[in-house]
């Protein structure tokens, strides 16, 4: 067996059906969607169809979907845009978020602090769950924005989004969620859940890189992100990335129909790996105890005394791609802020390994991974003696 990819949370391989859509659109839909002629109209039609497909995936209306370059841009735009809009209007503009957000949210908030905004970070419990009690304690009359991720990218914990959204709604607080890991993998209905803004990224659910979207509920408005044209309803100027948008629409449509069955399949594979990890002894799972509260293809675990960087590299050298911790600017692995926020010390957090499965993961691959993992862990235990 050649290389086995088990790092779907980092990025997914594009679905061949998406790749085909994208490849066809490059020559066929080269027109500028803003042009009046037939070339422009065809391109515009494709972009708007993609917008409907993305809206449909989220239970949103097409005019509530804005295409962006990806999850980080959507997070930046939603949080900064709303913070400045609220401040300009003289309304409460304090931000409450969590300690386990993706850096796209955390560093956006850190920058906003420099701009004079106040930010509070909610703690999470040992499973990575944000509590309503902590949220209620942090929110006060100065709070204008709450941003809580839909599901965590490292340990897979799904947050109580409906409850958080309802809490915000009754208080008139803008609620944003970074759904980069959840979109396309979990059923999401922004209407039913009461979400005001949501970020998603195409390459996390089988589209290509460089395309994402921001859902912004009708009635809210942000300052334009890019000035210079009428694209994206004047909010993000610049000629649309038509092939990527077409691919995102295609990926959204596929996810909408296949998501439930796929989640069931992935959960079974995930359980298989979890059982294999625990069978090796001196090991544990990080994240939710009950897999119902975890992303379907997501598993985070550790072995006592085995460093995450060593284990990751050994697996890589054996052609299994997994992930661990967070890389510093130079690329060295350091314990992740998420595991530390879950209450683990640096030593334990320094053992956490993340395996994420997806659409093209097979049972054969999972078994091969478990065999390799057993060999490597056994060897590392022998060396340590």
């Amino acid at each position: 067996m050649r290389q086995v990819y088990l790092d779907y949370a980092a990025t997914t391989p594009p679905d061949p059906r998406v790749t085909a859509c994208v490849a066809e659109s490059i020559p066929a839909l080269f027109g500028n969607p803003s042009s009046i002629h037939s070339f422009g109209r065809s391109a515009r039609g494709a972009v708007e169809k993609a917008r409907r497909d993305v809206a449909n995936l989220l239970g949103a209306r097409p005019e509530e979907i804005f295409f962006t370059s990806g999850g980080s841009e959507s997070d930046n735009w939603a949080i900064k845009g709303m913070a400045f809009a609220l401040r300009a209007a003289g309304r409460p503009c304090g931000i409450v978020t969590t300690a386990i957000e993706h850096p796209a949210v955390l560093q956006t908030c850190a920058w906003l602090v420099q701009q004079g905004f106040s930010v509070q970070y909610l703690p999470v419990d040992a499973e990575g769950v944000v509590s309503l009690e902590n949220l209620a304690a942090a929110v006060d009359e100065t709070t204008g924005i709450v941003s809580v991720m839909f599901a965590n990218n490292e340990v897979g914990t799904i947050e109580p989004i409906a409850e958080i959204a309802a809490f915000c709604q009754v208080r008139g607080i803008f609620f944003h969620t970074d759904a980069v890991q959840a979109a396309g993998h979990l059923p999401i209905d922004v209407q039913a859940l009461g979400i005001d803004a949501l970020s998603l990224s195409g390459h996390k659910f089988y589209a290509i890189k460089g395309i994402g979207a921001l859902y912004l509920r009708s009635g809210f408005s942000l300052d334009a992100l890019v000035h210079g044209g009428a694209q994206e309803r004047g909010m993000r100027a610049g000629t649309e990335n038509v092939p990527a948008i077409v691919g995102l629409g295609c990926a959204a449509a596929l996810a909408a129909t296949e998501l439930k069955e796929e989640a069931r399949r992935l959960r079974a594979l995930r359980e298989r790996i979890a059982a294999g990890v625990l069978a090796l002894g001196e090991s544990w799972l990080n994240g939710p105890n009950d897999s119902v509260h975890c992303l379907p293809g997501h598993l985070n675990f550790g072995f006592r005394g085995i460093r995450q960087d060593v284990l990751l590299m050994r697996l890589d050298l054996a052609d299994f791609a997994v992930s661990a911790g967070s890389a510093c600017s130079a690329g060295a692995l350091t314990p992740s802020h998420v595991l530390l926020a879950l209450g683990q010390d640096e030593r334990k957090a320094g053992t956490a390994l993340r395996v994420t499965l997806g659409r093209f993961t097979t049972a054969v691959e999972v078994d091969a991974f478990l065999t390799a993992l057993r060999e490597i862990v056994t060897d590392l235990r022998r060396i340590r003696k």
């Binding site: 060593v310 050298l317 890389a327 510093c328 690329g331």
Partner: protein, 362 residues
């Protein structure tokens, strides 16, 4: 047969880059590892030339891509802080002149990387040092020898290697001159072929150890007297650790003849100065010994001794002393024998052993 795996410590320089390339050509399963040693904040400084800087990582990554081997960055910051930086500051505070590069080699680049490499499933660790590791055919003992390039020989900084570590290290450049290395790197089109050698202490900004001490260990800088050998006060200083033995410039004393730092006395906070002839010692006492060519020193032995990196060896007799020490008696007096620096003993090309200088003998 499965290829033997070897981890190469990649600094982004030409030596370690060529080492990786040569071993790959020899058929090893080569893995490049760059060790993360100093704090990230150093990356932001202008003088980003240390061997573990961000640009070094980028160079190493590029080289590994060209050679076609995997490359990883591993974090050794905690070990480096404890074994190198803390030792560096403590040694200065007690009036010695530390050699942080030797400490780094010993504890971090060798012990630290070796244990991590074993965990990566490697049989060997390779470095770009100019020294040779050979097994003595008769005794079976592993020997450390000088690199064939006398100018570049780095065996001085490796005297701490032991029989266990020597069996696990490869130093393919020991058989080559630096000129050959650059030519081979050029031929293999490694982008770092003409990169200059790094010289300065990687964690000390702008190579200014005095400013570093002032920032990190100000308590060790107490003013005191500059005295001559008879104890006469000639002037004042701002801290004993700011001086090194043999130093002439910067004393700020007007005297009829050139004066040199002869000794440092942290107890009395004195810098003792004397004439040019006073900087010479007939011998020294060394501790923290490691023997490579022999099990232990049982009786006096005639060797060539080197008391500082880049300095010529001198003929000497080494004599065992109690409590794990050795007395070194030079045939010709040696200049600026400095406590804290290492002394290394040779017979011909072979490193007999070495230790840390504790005190010069007049």
């Amino acid at each position: 047969m499965e290829k033997k795996r070897v981890v190469v410590g990649m600094s982004g320089g030409v030596d370690s880059s060529l080492t990786a390339a040569l071993l790959k050509e020899e058929g090893y399963d080569v893995v490049g590892v760059t060790m993360r040693l100093a704090d990230e904040s150093r990356d932001l400084e202008e003088n980003d030339r240390g061997c573990c800087s961000l640009s070094a990582v980028q160079d190493a990554r590029r080289v590994c891509e060209i050679i076609g081997i995997p490359h990883y960055v591993m974090d050794f910051k905690a070990l480096f802080r404890e074994k190198v930086i803390d030792y560096f500051l403590a040694d200065y505070a007690r009036g010695r002149t530390p050699n942080p590069c030797i400490a780094c080699n010993r504890y971090v680049k060798f012990e630290g990387l070796l244990s991590r490499a074993m965990e990566l499933g490697a049989s060997y660790v390779a470095t770009g040092h100019y020294a040779r590791i050979e097994q003595d055919a008769r005794s079976g003992r592993w020997l450390l020898k000088k690199g064939v390039d006398g100018q570049k020989d780095q065996s001085y900084a490796l005297y701490h290697l032991n029989q266990h570590s020597l069996t696990h290290f490869l130093m393919p450049l020991g058989r080559h001159t630096k000129t050959e290395t650059r030519a081979m790197a050029e031929r293999l089109q490694l982008p770092v072929a003409q990169k200059p050698d790094s010289q300065e202490i990687c964690f000390v900004p702008r190579d200014d150890y005095k400013a570093y001490l002032r920032e990190k260990e100000p308590a060790c800088l107490q003013p005191g007297e500059i005295v001559d050998l008879s104890g006469r006060v000639l002037g004042h200083h701002e801290g004993v650790p700011l001086y090194t033995i043999g130093q002439r410039k910067g004393l700020g004393i007007a005297a009829g003849r050139p004066l040199y730092v002869v000794r440092l006395d942290t107890q009395r906070r004195q810098v003792i100065v004397g004439g040019a002839e006073d900087v010479f010692s007939r011998g020294l006492i060394a501790g923290d010994l490691n023997w490579i060519a022999i099990d232990a020193l049982q009786e006096p032995m005639d060797v060539m001794a080197k008391v500082r990196y880049g300095k010529k060896e001198g003929a000497a007799r080494i004599i065992p002393r109690p409590q794990g020490r050795v007395e070194v008696s030079f045939e010709e007096p040696q200049r600026a024998v400095t406590p804290g620096q290492s002394v290394v003993f040779y017979r011909g090309d072979i490193v007999v052993g070495g230790g840390v200088i504790e005190q010069p003998l007049p």
